[in-house]
Structure formats: structure tokens, C-alpha cells
Subunit: 339 residues, 2 copies
């Protein structure tokens, strides 16, 4: 064992000296290919024991510098403030470790500049592969990575220059809208148009969800006015402001809503509590996202739970296969009824 506050780490050279052998023998033994290099099992065992005793730890910087692959896999993610991204990161780490990869994750707060900075930092640290989750500008990241020969997969939001894995936003939104409309019918005896709120009109997911939202209305023969589609951004404050403005303009508020994320729902609920609207009867809600406490919020909440394990299976299938086709894999989400 190391004595005292000695800061110097044990290297293969130290072990070689202790074992009375060469550093390359030690290296061969410790990285497991000693059979190929014809090291005797006695020496292998002696070295292994010494390494254990001395608390030897491989210096990855040196190892990676020498090898061609780093076995480091990076992920950038917008936020850690909701269950969806939380479970993506958790699942990603577990699956990376299963494959003997070292996962590094960083959060970029939906900030394009930070996304680029983080991608650069990861490239400097020589990731073998980078997953861009919910990136505002996935193509920019792919471009940086491509210049360094690093493979990329887009997750949650698609890009045009790398394979992408996303939810079936149209299908999920269609089904979610259908259910909320049905709840309205059951509750009020008739169907009236819902409100769509949250997300960015410019992003693929939001526009697909709006398409599904419209399709479900069309199917039911319900006309949706333009003023009821509010892609006001993701932040709670944005949703709160949008609700206030809608209430000011309109006399009667819609009986049901399609909320584009839990984060937006946070703002919607805050507005409802503060404004005193909907006090007699809560609106029929649908949320394209899942959270256990949201599920407990009321009796008529429908939620879309995106299939995180399925999405990450698809991501790692792309990575494991080495395939780089520019395909977009769509994973069906699950609509869960509560109450």
C-alpha cells in the first residue's frame, strides 16, 4: 500500500521493478492480452497480485493517448430538471457501462453557444462518439464532430447530418389529443377545441405534435382556431405569460389543453392557481411528458410517456452496428391514463 500522503501514483514501471520484469510484460498482463503475448501464468499471477497490493490504477490519459479508441462516450443534454432527461441520462450511463465505455454527460441549458463549447471540450477529451440530446442546433455539433472523425447520434430532436432517434411525436400527439377530446365529451357532452401550449414552433417535435393535435381535431370534426396554438417556448414563465394573454383576449377559455412538456405545465398550473380561473372545474389535461406527481394532480390528466429504454436501445444499436445512415428512427411513446 501507498504510505502516508504520497501523491505519486504507481505506474507499470514501478510494478515492473517490484516484479523484476519489464513494463511491457506488466502492461500485457494488466490489460488482459498476456496469453497472446506469451507471458507465463506464474508471472501473470505475480504481477496481478502486486498490482492489487500496490493499489495500481491504469492511467487512462496515457492509455488513450497510445490507443486509437478512447472508449469514452459523451452525451450532451439540455437540462436535468425533469424526469424525461433524467431517465435518459441514467439509462445512457448504465448502457455505456455495460459496454465497457466511460460515459461523460454534460448539460447545456438549451444554450447553442454552450452546446458548441461542450462538444468541443468533449472532442478535446477524445470521445469516440457523441450523443446530442435535444440539441438546439444538432447539425452544428455533427459538423464539429465529423471534422474530428467522431460519430454522432441525435436523440430526442432530429438533425439532418447524423442518424436520429426520436419519439413518434405525431402519433403520440394524435392519440393524446384524441383522449383529451374524449374526456371533454364525457365531461361536457360535446367536443370543443383544445388549447395547445408550450414548446418552440421551430423545433421538429413541437411542429409534429401540433400536426397530431390538428389531425385529431380534424378527425373529430372540430375546428381549431389559430389563436389556440401557442408554441410559446419551454420555460414555465413563458407558458404562464401566454395563458395570461390568452385569458385577457378571450372571454371563454378552452375546456381542455394539450401541454407540450411538464416544464410548460408547471407554468400553466401556476397561472391557474394564481389567476383563479378554472376554480369550479379543472380543465381536461393532456401532457406530452410524464412525471409521477403530475399524474396525481387531478382526475383528468392524460400523459405521454416517451419510451426512454426503447430510444436508448435504438441509439446503441446504431452505435454498436457502426451504421451511419441518415435515418430517423421513431419510437412510439406510451399514453398513460390517470385518475
Amino acid at each position: 500500500m501507498k504510505r502516508g500522503t504520497q501523491t505519486k501514483r504507481t505506474t507499470i514501471y514501478d510494478l515492473a521493478e517490484l516484479a523484476g520484469t519489464s513494463a511491457s510484460a506488466v502492461s500485457a498482463v494488466l490489460n488482459g492480452n498476456w496469453k497472446k503475448r506469451r507471458i507465463s501464468s506464474q508471472l501473470a499471477e505475480r504481477i496481478t497480485r502486486l498490482a492489487e497490493e500496490q493499489g495500481y490504477a491504469l492511467n487512462m490519459q496515457a492509455s488513450v493517448l497510445r490507443r486509437d479508441r478512447s472508449k469514452i462516450i459523451g452525451m450532451i443534454v439540455p437540462k436535468y430538471d425533469n424526469r424525461y432527461f433524467g431517465s435518459i441520462v441514467e439509462q445512457f450511463e448504465a448502457m455505456a457501462r455495460e459496454r465497457g465505455l466511460f460515459p461523460i454527460v454534460t448539460c447545456t441549458r438549451r444554450d447553442p453557444a454552450l452546446e458548441v463549447e461542450a462538444a468541443r471540450a468533449m472532442l478535446s477529451h477524445r470521445v469516440d462518439c457523441l450523443i446530442a440530446t435535444g440539441a438546439t442546433d444538432p447539425d452544428r455539433i455533427v459538423e464539429l464532430c465529423a471534422a474530428a472523425g467522431v460519430r454522432t447520434v441525435n436523440l430526442d430532436l432530429p438533425g439532418s447530418r447524423a442518424p436520429s432517434v426520436i419519439s413518434d411525436n405525431f402519433g403520440g400527439a394524435l392519440e393524446l389529443t384524441r383522449r383529451v377530446l374524449a374526456n371533454c365529451k364525457k365531461e361536457y357532452g360535446e367536443m370543443t377545441p383544445l388549447l395547445f401550449i408550450g414548446g418552440r414552433g421551430t423545433d421538429h417535435n413541437t411542429s409534429e405534435r401540433i400536426r397530431g393535435f390538428r389531425a385529431a381535431h380534424a378527425e373529430a370534426g372540430v375546428v381549431v382556431d389559430e389563436s389556440l396554438v401557442l408554441a410559446c417556448g419551454y420555460a414555465p414563465e413563458k407558458a404562464e405569460t401566454a395563458m395570461r394573454q390568452l385569458a385577457e383576449k378571450t372571454g371563454t377559455l378552452p375546456r381542455g389543453m394539450f401541454v407540450n412538456s411538464t416544464i410548460s405545465l408547471e407554468g400553466v398550473m401556476r397561472w391557474i392557481r394564481r389567476s383563479g380561473h378554472y376554480t369550479d372545474r379543472m380543465p381536461m389535461l393532456g401532457c406530452f411528458d410524464w412525471d409521477p406527481f403530475v399524474a396525481m394532480l387531478g382526475d383528468h390528466i392524460e400523459m405521454v410517456r416517451q419510451d426512454v429504454p426503447g430510444m436508448l436501445d435504438a441509439v446503441f444499436e446504431i452505435i454498436d452496428s457502426g451504421n451511419s445512415d441518415l435515418k430517423v428512427v421513431q419510437i412510439p411513446p406510451v399514453v398513460e391514463t390517470i385518475g
Copy 2:
């Protein structure tokens, strides 16, 4: 610019050749100490421009191998499934980046073996410093790090071998319990003992919170029966089971509860919905944790919001100062009233 799918990265040697100079000059220019090394500003500018044009990116593995400090800072964290740890990670990353450090975070799912494995992996990657957040066995991690000369700070849960930053669990629990008791008094006209549920009896935080819970009862002259303190673990299922068993044993359930985390509250709420208890009147709730949707769950919920920015300020103050005193810094949390 790199052409095509060229996978070879530009190195300082490539730049040196292009600039008709030496690699050491390039290195000096690009890492900013060219003045000390008496490189002319013309050459410096030429090299800088070339690096830009060629899309040069420093190879951190090589750089770190040569230097003594890696400027990599690691954090292990139990889960990403709640706002508390989410904001810890987000804040940590931001503060690390502010200091020019590269943050790497990994989640260890409250699994002691995974904690050790993750710590080892981080040491192999030569982190300068490791923050062990909510570790089940912080001292084991500190021991590993100490052997490699790596500094450690414990966060959220204290250890005995490294400085620790935690919430004032006793104080927070005392105040939280007082408020829930007061709510009971207001609602029912009298104070009856609350239920304590969630957490591990063996961990410091839970035992301190129980101490605060008891102190508030004592203060109010309310006797707490042993059977009302259920440190059943953190997982929702554990809390659900504990509630069921309590209901089976006891005729009357307590009018209020102190729930030790949002994760445990998830189980409690699930049990309440499923079992049909508390249907006439919800229990007065206190939760030692914060979540925006929990805040909307009912009219009588008190929540303790731990001061994440304050805690991380304390962590980085310890790191920045290089101080290694075995102190435990306690940060007061904030009790927020809802409804």
C-alpha cells in the same frame, strides 16, 4: 479545413510544419504562455490563425499526461430522478466551467459497489478532485482517492475523512415539523403526533431529521410513539409498503406526516390514492425536499427546499482554498409554505 472523412486530427506538429516553426513554439502560443517564452507576436498571430483555419483542437489526453493537474473535476451523484440532485448537478457543472475545470458526473444509483467502481474510473481518468454526493459509503471513496492523492469533498451526506457540506437537517426538520403540527392544530383544533416516513435510519441526514422531528414534538408537548417513525428506505415502493403495514396494524392513521423526500412521497401518495384512506380529508403534509408539482398537490403541504447554490458555494470554497480540514459545513435550508 479538414477535407472529406479524414479521421486524423491536426496536431501541434502539423501546425508547426505549416507555420515553418517548431512544435514547442506552437504549444507555447496555443496555451497562452508565449510571452514568457519570448515568442514574437507575429509568429504567435500566424500560429493562432493557422490553428483556427485547420480546426485544431488540443489533445487533452496528451496535455494532461504531461502536466501535473488535469483540470478535470468529478462528481458522483445517487440519482437523476428528482429536482434536488438535478439542480446540484446543473449548478456543479456551471461552477466548474466558470473555473476552467472540466466536470464529469456519474450516477451511482445508491449502489455502494457502483460508487466504488465509478470512483476508480474517475481516478483512472485523473480527476483533480472528486465530490461524493449522497454517497452510501463516503469514507471508502475518500480512502481510494487519498491513495491517489486526490482531494474529496462530501456533499449532502457527511463522511468522517473529508470535509463535508450538508443541509442543516436538524434545523430544517425542526421547523418543518413545527409548521405541520401548527397546520394540524389549525385544522383539527388539537395537536396529534405526526408520522415520519422515508429515508434510511442509518444515514446521518435521516437520523438528524428524526431528531428534529422529535424535538418539535417535545417542544409542543406531544408524545411520539416509536411505531410512528418509519425510516423504511428511499424508494417509492418501500414507502408504499410501510404505509400499508401501518394501516393494517393501526386503527387510526396520523393526521399529518413528515415525508423524508419527494421520492418517498411518491410512494405515500400512491398508497393514499390506491388504498382509499384519507379520502375525506388529506393528511397535513411536510416534505423534506422540494418539487414544483408536489407544491400543487394540495392545500396543506410544507416543503423544505435545500439551498443548492449555498451548498455548492461552500463546496467550491473548500476546493478553491485547498483547505482539507475535516469540518462539516451545515447550510440552512428554506421552508416554503404552499397553499
